[in-house]
Homo-oligomer: 223 residues x 2
């Protein structure tokens, strides 16, 4: 599959010129972050909460406590959705209504299922931790059976999706362009600062390469 | 009102020790950003989309096109919700399940109403633009009646809310603390880079003070 087919659910209505259905481009947006806004219906009301996720091919993974209200609710529902957005710039126009932001945003739809098998669960938890920081899982104290039993692991298969990308400059009314009003864009970046070691660390434990690498890449440009 | 009362809707179930119901603290989270995840129900399915907002006291303001599916849907529903989250750090523990993030997140609930009066609409659009960048509205070409007529403006009254804040270090199992595994936090910041002027600007138009101020404050610490 190279592109998600359009339906009433995922078709972008406003700003259709910025709509993206391409699978690779949407995966790139998903991989540029690790926090998604998972939406669910509670008592007829839509709520969304931020959650860490991992991705492998067309699967998105979430985890939480066995009693997590949101996760139990998405398991009980026919379909779930997650939205991920990266803010890239403020777009400051000459008039109020042409103010905008540059961004990359994706909304994915699909069905959730609960993972019961311990081997599969462990593989998925590795995927989630490594999605946050590549190379991290291998250096950790191995997960134990008690922890696996106490963790709810969910796999979402992406069935439909759409994204919107705005990455251009100011778009003002033609007549406004000659006005003596400053317009432009203000780039916004999410950056990492230098890691702060836990004070309980034994003295000889240094900041490992995978953390330094993350810092180096992300201090310049997170995505 | 100093604190939102707890109900089944807004009561924090997981990590209740991090729960915040204090009105001022929740307003501070709302004012530290300007993009919120507005949730709505479409065809039985919960979806959330990022939107710019403004705040004045216990009112949250949104705007969009007259045909915006999400805004029309929240107007038609009994209650709406918006979630705002700021990521402050990666929390890198010695075991996988103690990985976490430091963050400030708020979810607000309330009823939406459509604003019809032009004077009120203009005041609200100023609130939204100035929430993104203080001092911006006054320097712009004034909004005209045609633009006001073509814009859907929504006022949400916050009736209930809760927030979660995590701002501490690594919390590992006691037995893991002596392991030779690096643990610590990696602070994450959203920063502004220097403004890029629109190429169509008349030559004498300089970057104004309110933009430089935003840049100076935000390059160091956006919030």
């Amino acid at each position: 599959m190279k592109e998600y087919s359009k339906s009433a659910l995922n078709k972008v209505k406003r700003g259709a010129n910025r709509a993206v259905y391409d699978v690779d481009k949407i995966n790139k947006i998903l991989d540029a972050g690790f926090i998604g806004y998972v939406s669910y219906v509670y008592d007829g009301q839509a709520i969304s909460l931020p959650m860490a996720y991992g991705r492998d091919k067309n699967k998105i993974y979430l985890h939480g406590s066995l009693k997590n209200r949101m996760l139990l609710s998405v398991l009980a529902s026919e379909s779930m959705s997650i939205t991920v957005m990266h803010l890239d710039a403020l777009v400051l126009a000459r008039s109020g209504l042409h103010h905008s932001v540059n961004y990359r945003s994706a909304t994915i739809f699909g069905k959730a299922r609960r993972i019961e098998d311990s081997v599969e669960k462990e593989k998925i938890l590795k995927c989630i931790v490594d999605h946050m920081m590549i190379g991290r899982w291998e250096e950790l104290r191995p997960i134990n059976q008690k922890e696996l039993n106490a963790t709810l692991v969910i796999e979402m298969t992406i069935e439909s999706a759409s994204a919107k990308i705005r990455d251009v400059g100011v778009k003002d009314e033609k007549d406004d362009e000659k006005l003596p009003i400053w317009a432009g864009i203000l780039p916004i970046k999410q950056v990492a600062e230098f890691p702060i070691s836990d004070e309980l660390l034994p003295e000889h434990v240094e900041v490992p390469d995978h953390v330094i690498q993350y810092y180096n890449i992300n201090k310049a440009d997170r995505n």
